[in-house]
Amino acid sequence: MDYVATHNLTKRFSQNRAVDDANITLEKGKVYGLLGPNGSGKSTFMKMVAGLFHPSKGKIEVMGDPLSYRSKEYVSFMTTEQYFYDYMTVGMVGRFHRDFYADFDPNTYEELIGEMQLSMDMKVKSLSSGMTAKLKIAATMARDAKVFMLDEPLNGIDLVARDAILSAIIRKADPDNCILISSHLIDAMENILDDVIFIKEGQIVICGNAENIREERGKSIVDLYKEVFA
């Protein structure tokens, strides 16, 4: 069973097709890179799979079932925006996740918070943007979800913390889950991706295995990206 499958997935905003006829499958045990410039439809695609946007056309299946509110049990999604309630503390964010997500592990959360150099009694309101980015990662990755979707996980993260984040992602990947990462920081991401999906103006243009691309074309993913989006 594919963990995520989209069929002719389209999202229209007024006249603009943010996502156009996307047919994508995400298999378990793999790390996927959804690559493209800003505005190419990466976030919109992920938000549809997460249930935050409804499709204009097409279908989505998660864990073999048509997308519904129940699919959210299996999907851990990190958006680009800050999405915690201002009134909460870091600790309360953890309790919230524990209350609503059966696969949330408070111990992992505590570990990650420590690694990110945050503390449980910090108020969400008073976090800098870098700290908020780290909190998002901690909350998302402390779940034992089947599908992880990370929208620009390295945004707002300083160079030193980047390695910690990439390491957290590598550690999270296992044969029973799949991870979809969107990023325009391709050089930082290259090494950890199994497959790459290039999306240009809402349309999927290339889908392939990263190592195969290197072997067959003698190109890095960065090279390929520059070719496709030049």
Binding site: F13, S14, K47, A50, G51, L52, F53, H54, S68, Y69, R70, S71, K72, E73, F77, T79, E81, Q82, Y83, F84, Y85, D86, Y87, M88, M92, F96, D99, F100, Y101
Partner: protein, 271 residues
């Protein structure tokens, strides 16, 4: 849904404490007005009315504003990413508002009762006696008891409140799911609320007429004995029946708004 309500509470903790403080101050002012007497009684009555008004208005505004903010601001993602059905999300907000209302009403009831006793202590015995008579006679005139009329009134008020909240929530949901406006959504939602409310009142009116409300009112006002109505006479107008019909209608509208909102949230959300 209980978990959702827990976080609705946390979200408003500062607001609720402020409202509590305001109500206590209002009661203080009311007692002062009662104590001073004479022209100061105006303060007393204004505070009493204000309290009751606040008890109904604050939960309503609070529920709608917070709900709207969940759509408008990105913190709404936190809520909408949870594996909760649209019905659960809506239900938690409506039920929480109801609990807020009942708590506020309970507090106001405590204050009213205290004021009643204080009035006795401050020497308003004549006025209290008159009040007591009126409260005993009017229910009898309508064919029921004091307890009956009070519970009917309270239930009716609560249903009306619930109806208004669900309608407002539905208006916001409609605006945020079916219309792809970028700005002034709140204005559209407000207009939509009024349109829906008017539509509902029209339908209510038609239904009540169907039950004979208009004809009864006409014959009642034409009835000679109504002109010389005195305390203690029986009113030949079955008001109770119409209150019950209205309440039934409110239940239907509440159900429709709830179902509509839940369905839209499940299928057509765009954050």
């Amino acid at each position: 849904m209980g978990k959702l309500m827990k976080y609705e509470l946390f979200r408003r903790s500062k607001l609720l404490i402020s409202i509590l403080i305001v109500l206590v101050f209002m009661e203080g002012a009311a007692v002062y007005g009662l104590y001073r007497g004479g022209e100061w009684l105006i303060l007393f009555f204004i505070m009493l009315m204000g309290m009751a008004f606040a008890a109904f208005l604050v939960p309503l505004l609070d529920a709608v504003v917070n709900y709207y903010s969940d759509f408008k601001n990105t913190h709404g993602y936190m809520l909408f990413l949870t594996p909760q059905s649209g019905y659960s999300l809506i239900g938690s907000k409506a039920v929480f508002a109801l609990i807020e209302l009942l708590s506020a009403l309970a507090l106001v009831a405590v204050f009213y009762t205290a004021n009643f006793h204080l009035a006795g202590a401050f020497g308003y015995t004549d006025e209290l006696a008159l009040l007591r008579t009126v409260f005993q006679q009017i229910p009898q005139m309508l064919g029921t008891s004091t307890a009956g009329i009070v519970s009917l009134g309270v239930t009716s008020g609560i249903l009306q409140f619930f109806n208004t909240i669900m309608l407002a929530i539905f208006a916001v949901t409609l605006t945020k799911t079916l219309l792809s406006q970028k700005s002034f959504n709140w204005l559209i939602a407000l207009l939509m609320y009024f349109a829906l409310a008017m539509g509902i009142e029209t339908v209510n009116g038609l239904v009540l007429t169907g039950f004979g409300f208009v004809t009864d009112m006409i014959s009642f006002s034409q009835d000679a004995s109504a002109v010389t109505l005195e305390l203690g006479d029986e009113i030949k107008l079955d008001i109770i029946k119409y209150i019950l019909v209205s309440m039934g209608l409110y239940v239907i509208w509440i159900g429709a708004a709830f179902t509509g909102s839940g369905m839209l949230l499940n299928k057509r959300v765009d954050l």
